[in-house]
Symmetry: D2
Subunit: 321 residues, 4 copies
């Protein structure tokens, strides 16, 4: 699919959902989706990519200065202290022999900053991953089947950076509304001299995060953004990647390519393909290092917090090069 | 120090604090403490330990069924849904073309479950890590200097499991109140055929978590527990390890060895030594694997969530073997 | 209904639901249920009961030392500080000319302590108050129709204390499991010399709160307790009271009177009768005053926090005598 | 004080603090400040003001659509569901005999919307109400002395509405930055034909809330606003009122009248005078009623939630006329 009729999202989504479905591919009880493409050999191969011993955190900071503006009750994290060094210095904490302590609490939406979308995060016409009925999977008690805790140990693989911002954009950045196509991805990989392989975690840098860091958050959370075109659905499926992550709020291009649509590529990728999607990753330091050394693959460990029943998780992905 | 006068914590703590201090060792601006023992070569060496490509999550689950009972306002995590599959199935979410979504929120103390103690977590007579005044480091706004976000990319190294429960205990478990000494650590390492080296992250399994899983949480959060003896302070310092983690609430033996004391080894280790301490790690599956294969070292990636100003962080540590 | 077959909850509930239903009584758009029994004249009459100008707070304290143990994720409130006097004294808050401040945050279930059950709190076979389909009333976005904010100005009326603990119990307390019948309520009112009238808010003291204050919370939150018998449903309906409140967790007797049942009187009273129910009220100081002065009616102002879409609300009810 | 040198806040504040201090007036252990002006006779008098039996909630709604923008981590409330009618309708809640339930949770700053400032909310040069050292009053554990729970039963009195917006403003609204002086207050009272008396709770309507409801929140939370002039400090003291509340974020005029100042009238009123201040009250419906009936006094019950150690509280103030 490389042409797209902007007036007909329903048909296009239905066609892509059918064509690129992985339902049943890993059995009826599967909870891992495309993470199944990562096998032991792949992880050994990924570890072998560590040559210099440098590490990069691909996470933004979690604090009140984030991009959220309250859309669907998504706020920025609120971090508060239960005890502080100020109290400790005053000696009023009630501890013996001069010990003092500080403790803290956080309240946050799991999608507030750098995160993984779990497989229970998106549904297609009431169906969740692997064809399950959405209402049997995610209730008010959480995701009873594909909760993010089921992926606790799974997300370790070869990472590949596709710095589309640098390869295709101007001054390292794609403009908002830029739809990244399969051709852009291929051209970028070719420019980098890197191949995308089965089980990879593909990190797509658009440069939007660089821009909002410089210019202010603006509508980073949900507004116009560069991102993947709906037409990449076939590539995402055929490439047999384990996961994909971007430096944007929503992975796919915004505004979405269909009239009046909302995240149609999510609708194909998560419930139908079983693809893990990472969002709001900070790829800038890693991208600079890749460019400097001319190597775009690395070991990537991106372990979600195993919050029981969560449909996503904040994450601090670590690239080791 | 291998003898200990239970009536004189102040003197013993002061002596150990002075003897095992690392203040200034990495410059006056340091925020990483013993994580400085991990260098690039160490990380390359750690990656080379990956032979089979198996991974282990060393994290407990984060949910309402945890061990916390409210001590100092430490509760179990509260995870609630903003949107669910039940709502999506009903079609009342207001999204177009059949897409539905689920979203969620968490509220939790950062010390509620598997976590890292940051360097701002404990003070000694009003002093924080590196000799700073506690009240200038951790205010109601959080840790302004050694916030856990400063360690975002740092905690990747060789992990070594010391399964003291299996080597010294009965049926794989040490009893509550059992003080693990340097001799126990050495005997365990010898039994495993593994050496503890500079920059390692040492994971000490006591078996207490195995026990409470079987018998109920009881007083896991703060009550009697096996753990490191205060007398290991010298070993912790001399070994130049990067971090240490246990499967218990509080890392050191409980009740503490001094009369009326509270976590005296923390008081030496965190503010004076700059040691990173992990607590409530789940080492059971990894330990079984180590025993089966007779290998007790592995690559360990234990990246904290970079919560700005946090004095600790929940973590999902990943061991790759 | 004064006999009850403990083996047949379904039939008894269905019968009571049909007999005591107020559906449609106040029109199809009603959101106030029995609060409609309070009219302007009633409020004038209530104000006229103020003779001495004394006030009583009928609220327990909201803090971490409450009775909750995590049932269905109901925890005690977590109150944390954003700024403190300790920080202010240190002068590190960044404010000019010597002003300092303290600020705070709370996280709590709305049913954690003294509260009103809103009309969206309980359903009967998928039906909410006034016959509405539960799924159209309370979604993940909250109660879209009968949210507690609709009652923001409504709960001001004559309060009547029925101190059943004092009138019927021993040493002012009913034992756990004691089912308060219509006869007990009448005998108590007669002993007090007070009549229950249309539009009243009836406060029933069992003495259980007195007991757990003395003996420890135990299973106050959900365990055995004195409370109203299912057989009082007819009286609750016929009396045309505006609301009823108790000093217990759950208003009705626990264990419930039917085998394997769960809060059957709620099921009749809230969705079918439209009755407002208050729980965990602290009636002890008011009860002592009523006994001392021999007067058991008073002005009662029990305004919920108008949290949009909430199915209940913490409340600090004020009795003015 | 009716003249004000905008360049000299320190001197003016110090002078007013000394002149209008109530320290010691109600004994050294006092926690109620100006609420002491309310006595039993006053409450009887207040109840006698109830003539028509109409009630007004003076509270804004508590939800995510509030005015907060994150200043000092003040966010809007986040209300989430633990159980819903959608789940209940599906029958998957695990309850017997057709009962279903909905439950909810809230996380919010105590100053997020309609609220009382407690006496521990503001300090003057490290001093809290009654001359106490700020650091002994409000620690990370909360307000240990003047926590809002100490006022749980106290805030019931005669309320007086001064609708300055209507009396002095244009179309019922004062412009942002308008400083309300003693003369404006007196002229308004005279226009209303009402006297402010000892123990009253004075509600000052500026009309700003009316404006932001029409035009959008803008900078309602902390930006320019009409409000009381610093020069009213003497009047606030001499009038011996119990409390004062406004329909604005911060009670006093914004920008503040001194160069580079921040809430100087708070600094005099709360720690020195012991005055209770209400903010973000919704006085519009009450004001319309007062204007219609030509009566500006009423019974006011404004009971804070007794959150232990809180330095303020959300409140739903009820006016009964």
């Amino acid at each position: 699919m490389s042409e797209l009729d902007p007036t007909a999202p329903e048909a296009a989504i239905a066609e892509a959902a059918a064509k690129y479905s992985n339902w049943g591919r890993w059995g009826e009880h599967d909870t891992l989706g495309t993470l199944n493409f990562i096998d032991a050999a792949k992880r050994v191969e990924a570890a072998a990519l560590v040559r210099r011993g440098a590490t990069f955190s691909l996470s933004q900071r979690f604090d009140a200065n984030g991009p959220q503006k309250g859309w669907r009750r998504r706020t920025n994290p609120v971090h508060t202290m239960l005890d502080t060094g100020v109290d400790a210095a005053l000696g009023n904490q009630g501890f013996p022999h001069g010990i003092g302590g500080a403790d803290d609490v956080i309240a946050m939406p799991l999608q507030c900053s750098t995160q993984w979308d779990g497989l229970g995060h998106i549904f297609d016409h009431g169906k969740a991953w692997n064809g399950r009925a959405a209402q049997t999977v995610v209730t008010s008690e959480g995701d009873l089947i594909t909760g993010i805790e089921t992926a606790a140990a799974a997300i370790v693989s070869r990472g590949v950076l596709l710095d589309v911002g640098r390869a295709i954009g101007r001054d390292g950045e794609l403009p908002d509304g830029f739809a990244i196509t399969t051709e852009h991805l291929s051209a970028t990989a070719q420019a980098h001299g890197v191949d995308v392989e089965r089980g990879d975690i593909v990190c797509v840098r658009t440069g939007q995060l660089t821009r909002v860091r410089r210019d202010g958050w603006g509508d980073y959370a949900g507004g116009a953004a560069p991102g993947l075109s709906f037409t990449t659905a076939g590539w995402l499926h055929a490439a047999e990647i384990a996961a994909i992550a971007t430096d944007t709020w929503g992975f796919e291009v915004r505004p979405n390519e269909f009239d009046g649509a909302f995240q149609p590529l999510h609708q194909v990728a998560i419930p139908n393909m079983g693809l893990f999607i990472g969002e709001m990753w900070d790829l800038d330091a890693l991208a600079a290092d890749c460019a400097r050394h001319g190597r775009y693959d690395f070991q990537l460990v991106a372990a979600p917090l195993p919050i029981t029943g969560a449909v996503g998780s904040p994450v601090n992905p670590i690239a080791v090069v």
